[in-house]
Symmetry: D2
Subunit: 443 residues, 4 copies
């Protein structure tokens, strides 16, 4: 456990960092960038880590190119890259991130010993931020200047906390021997980014892996030390390609992709429930057809499956594919299924969650909160699974930051910035603890 | 029957008019305007009719405002009005057409006697015209400059023929006593415009009503003198309004408009066949949903029904409404059905079709073509029905103008411009014939 | 044309035959037998033809065994065979009809010359006949004694007419040279029997083929001399075999044949209309499932398609198969499609229909009735097609026999027995005419 | 706790009873009677209870007449009543059970004190029992003589255990003061009978309520002392009444009940999952239509919903009704929904389950088995809920009785009859314990 003097030093450093945390968060918020286009955000993070003495890795080394799911078009990537350049991105790192390489890994080497990893997601959402005076970011001038991109899930805060932890660790003199690995992940929204970092081997050497997520719906300081119950999920787009015909003159002609789609939609929702646990399916959008008097020659479906376990999600996904194949065959349409994102189910290690809480208790200022299954998904699960499969441990921490407003993923999302310091001190203390004892206590 | 000298005069005048027909057609083609936005086209037609000495009527007098179906938004109307202004529309008439009053009626009074009406439709299609060098309008510089509007159904030719007939009649000295009524109709595509003219009473005093349509698929000069078999049709949009919910966290929440829509689509197509004749239904497009992880809160369907008779179309439409209401109720969605267009079934009067052919034969240069039911629809049927109900007669004439290219409603549609003269001379001769004897011969 | 003396002889003979026609009809009516079990009916017909001097053919020679569609189970066939035996069937012929060979062909050889064929269908319907005193067969004691079998479509009358024509021809002294072929066909209901006779070659040598059908809905003597417009049709049963599972404990287990069937039903009805003419589809019955708490492991559908032409029916049938295959695949069910009956579309030869009417006019006592398409089907079309394909001609004649009661296929069907004589004299006269001149008059 | 001498007495008595338990079970098995027709079974139980000195209640006093769900037709009830009479039912009680009053309550009054209730279900299943020599009941001559009724869920054993407990209690001299209430319930299969007993107030005075169920799939003696997790369920039949029409001649006529049913089936299965817990729906059977060429005029669906809680089941049922109403409206069918059975969710009281296990442990011969949610339903839950709502406690006990054969509800179900004694001694000991201390121990 941290000694009293260590605690005092920690608190002192965090207090000094606090204004910077807010400034960083607001800067990221103002220049919000969505998944795979976080060029400005990531390049500035990389620059700062360099300045703090971290070894910085970017590019294919930390992102397996072919595993980046839901990548925007090259044209879109290029446009946003130029915007980042114009908005003050770091020129050197921008050059190394072109084409959608917006992940950053920072390594602090402190001699031999365990590797403690921390993951921070950094992307914004496809959303137009509120300009209402009642919305603090608008009132105080840090609302997104990038139309259609908004930090409405707190990842701006996560990025700021990550930089805060980096700086804190360089200020603490007594960091134990070992390595700290800070993983700044792009494209968490749509669960698109984690897999590419995992497949690049980013967490393969990690002994203990941590992540922290702010929740605007929980009171400030409420802490779920081992938040789990994330649903495994598969996000995919479907294209049914038929053929057009004039609906009046040749109703029997063509191959009706809309009838195929309608049949699919009903039968996708009719996939049986599973006794092993919760499952989900949603056809979130369907766009089909051309003109009123044309047999619809194509249809596009935006779909996701979920399961309380990866096996349940696989059951849903396999069932969905069978339904789609048959619906396509019924109307002689060609079927294309395009993966857009995925996450596994994963559970935090109990011992590690307990350690998180014991550290939090010692620090004070947190209140215990029961973790529960939300029906949501989170691609940090890819990292958890990889670390656990290789013998390490992982935990996902939830931290309350309520401001009394609306929820995540809304245009007026905001959070209590005091949670930034609460996050940095907890993670900082945990790094030290876990470098010292990265495994379960033996009684 | 026309005397030999009348015929010679006619041919002489038409020959002189020919270059102007082509020029007019190409001008209309170049500045293509879609339904209810034919501001430039209609204002120039009105101006020309004035110059030729016709009494010209425009505005609510010839278009019942509330009966204009599928009207674009006020903003769209305004934008296109300004475009027309910039592209050389007639200032005076533009002022009287603002807000979507793009119909024109021209009257040539030649003393007491019968009223012979001719209808010309003038609107373009929502289509981007080909810029390929193999496409003559592109090669010869008269392709549409209005992106997204293309004359791909020959209405540019119809408008030019209408002006040609107007000019021809003013040049013929021996036009019999009576009235010629030239009806330039907007928004035929989507069968949206004729009803508003009929409801304004435009054809109420007409004894014999004619229309002529060019067909690129028929050899030049092929003539179907009483083309009929048009399907009655109803065009309508459907909106299903449900409510969103998070698909992972609250799959049972919300009200799923996409499931309602999919149920509707299948059951709309399952409306039983009818022993009394051909019926059709098409859901030409469906757009539903927001995001992948959101229960789709709304859906929009673009639908049309058809029937070989108006009664059959009504059977289909009534059945469709019942299906839609039930599908909405099943998912607690609000249902809105928005009419977008309609046409009746109608048949040309046999005696009149025979008269058309006898005149054509006398003129020479036409070949008889059997008319057949196409499964298509045409809102001239509104005018035919109204005239027939009031004791008059009506005919719809098809005229071949093939260029060996692609069909109607494609981006590379074009037609043989020699058909313009063929149309003008036939209609001109018919007007004279029918003013003389606007009824069936008594044997 | 028949001479006056021939006409007089004919009328004389028919008048003498009249009581026997009624007696025969009532005997067949009383011992009604359904398709492929007409053992008593057919054996008595064969016996009578023998007695009249006809060459009689029965068994596989006139019914291709494997082409008999919708054959009852061997057990059922055997039971009805024994019933026929007990009800006075002819022992010799019964022996040759065992196992469902209930067709009879009688040949009257009158020297070289053309072959004129007449077809009579002889089966009853699966229906319990009314016992109400207002129902004449019940009141006069000739209602069916075979529970569940009723002559409710007049085939008892057709069989009686067939025997009447046979007897008539043997009484007329001046029958021209040639051959008369009387074809007594089983299992017309469900359009199951004609194909097997055609495939056995029964009509291969026929120059002119006739059939006559009584209609209770038309006034007595109304005559449609070339009734056509029969829809081609395919009757088939469908079996979807899935697998059961406990609906509470293993909703995801099993393979749900009912969901496959429901998907099929909707999409079968959604098969697009066809511009070439009328089409039909009906799923007349669906039986699926076992217990309330068991995933339904199997489903059976009873289906028919129809088309105004054979090509249209084939379009419907092929589309239906595709829908069924895809629906089965969607739920991993095995699909079995069992043919149960079929008929072609066919049209009477115009010259022959005209000849029928000219003979009828000469005979007097008939009124012309326009033939129309009914949406119904009739397997005499198989014989028509075969004869026509081989260069012969065929006609299907409708004859009114109204009694003012209910329609065909109801439990209280009956007809005016005076139509029996009207049928015999017309067919008798036609046979003589057509033996003399079996082809179109050359003007 | 039972004293050692009490235990010895108990074991002694049970040993003497054992042959009778087997004999009773086999007698009930041989004369298997399904729900509401257990006339022989129930009358003999009532007679035996009388002989043992119990106060016996039957008829409307113990079964609220209108709450008996899924009652067979009067004709069926009468037929089975006569069969029971012929098969040796007790004449006196048969007279009081006519019309489906086959529940029996036996009361053993032992002075003031708590009321301990035990419930035994007594009905057989609609199933034809195996006659295979490998099936012990067949081999040993006690297979069901009532074709179509089979004890395939062990209720014959439950009834025998109930009589065994009754006899045991009369033999034990030291039964504590209080009342023992033995409840013999009809029609548990289809969860149809418990509600009528509860609504008649049968368990309103019970302090502790017990039930025991044999499981052939668990090894002999395995004991789940507080088996819970039963799903709430609603069983109902659905009738859709449309109208027929000839499918060829009038496809547009009629009102197609099969299309309504198919639409309902798909959308019933598409009722969304619920985040609060497991839900189920099954359309176990569908029967629709008449003939192949008739628009199906009616359809019947056999449906059940389930939910891990009663609220979840109500969500499913309400959603199902909405789907059915809309599907009926879509095809203008009349909808009738007929309740056939229902059960609540309920949980055993923990303290009571623990007491069951402590008594079992003291008795010896049982092995603890973890209870789990099965997806199944059980209408004892009605009694549990009523007792718990009135301040009492309830428990449902599972007891293994495996014979290595097939499962419940199969035609070859059987169980190890040694479980009968295991059940009697456990319940007997529990009665004594609970009369002494019918509430949670206070530490």
């Amino acid at each position: 456990m941290l000694s009293q003097s260590e605690l005092e030093t920690l608190e002192h450093c965090v207090a000094r960092l606090a204004p910077r945390l807010v400034a960083d968060r607001r800067d990221f918020h103002r220049f919000a960038e969505t998944g795979w286009t976080e060029f400005r955000t990531a390049s500035l993070i990389a620059r700062r880590l360099c300045e703090l003495g971290f070894e910085v890795r970017v590019g294919p080394e930390v992102l397996e190119p072919g595993a980046r799911m839901g990548l925007p078009s090259p044209r879109e990537l290029e446009a946003q890259w130029h915007r980042a350049s114009a908005q003050g991105g770091d020129p050197e790192f921008l050059g190394r991130m072109r084409g959608g390489f917006t992940g950053v890994v920072g390594l602090l080497h402190r001699g031999p010993g365990p590797v403690v990893g921390l993951r921070f997601d950094i992307d914004a959402l496809d959303l137009v931020e509120s300009k209402a005076p009642s919305h603090r970011p608008a009132a105080e001038g840090f609302a997104s200047v990038n139309e259609g991109a908004t930090h409405a899930c707190g990842h701006d805060g996560h990025a700021a906390i990550g930089l805060g932890v980096a700086e804190l660790l360089t200020q603490l003199t007594e960091v134990p021997s070992g390595t700290v690995k800070l993983v700044f992940q792009p494209a968490e929204e749509g669960v698109r980014g984690a897999r590419a970092m995992v497949e690049a081997g980013v967490v393969d050497d990690v002994d203990v892996m941590l992540a922290l997520h702010l929740y605007s719906g929980w009171p400030l300081g409420h802490l779920a030390p081992g938040r789990g119950g994330f649903f495994a999920t598969t996000k995919f787009d479907v294209r049914l390609q038929g053929a057009p015909a004039h609906a009046g003159g040749h109703p029997e002609g063509g191959r009706n992709a809309l009838l195929a789609a309608a049949t699919a939609v009903l039968n996708l929702h009719a996939i049986p429930r599973h006794p092993a646990g919760a499952t989900r399916i949603n056809v979130g959008a369907l766009i089909a057809g051309q003109g009123r008097n044309v047999i619809p020659p194509e249809a596009q479906l935006v779909v996701e499956t979920r399961g309380a376990t990866s096996a349940l999600n696989e059951y849903m996904y396999a069932s969905a594919l069978r339904v789609l194949e048959a619906a396509a065959a019924m109307y002689q349409c060609e079927l294309t299924v395009i993966p857009r994102g995925s996450a596994e189910s994963a559970e935090s290690d109990t011992w590690l969650a307990e350690r998180v809480w014991s550290v939090a208790e010692r620090l004070g200022g947190y209140e215990y909160r029961q973790s529960y299954a939300s029906g949501g998904s989170e691609d940090f699960t890819y990292m958890m699974r990889r670390v656990q499969e290789r013998g390490g441990s992982a935990v996902n921490i939830g931290l309350g930051a309520d401001l009394g407003g609306w929820g995540h993923h809304t245009e007026v999302f905001d959070f209590d910035e005091r949670a930034l310091s609460l996050g940095v001190r907890l993670l900082g203390a945990l790094v030290i603890e876990l470098l010292r004892e990265p495994v379960r206590h033996v009684a």
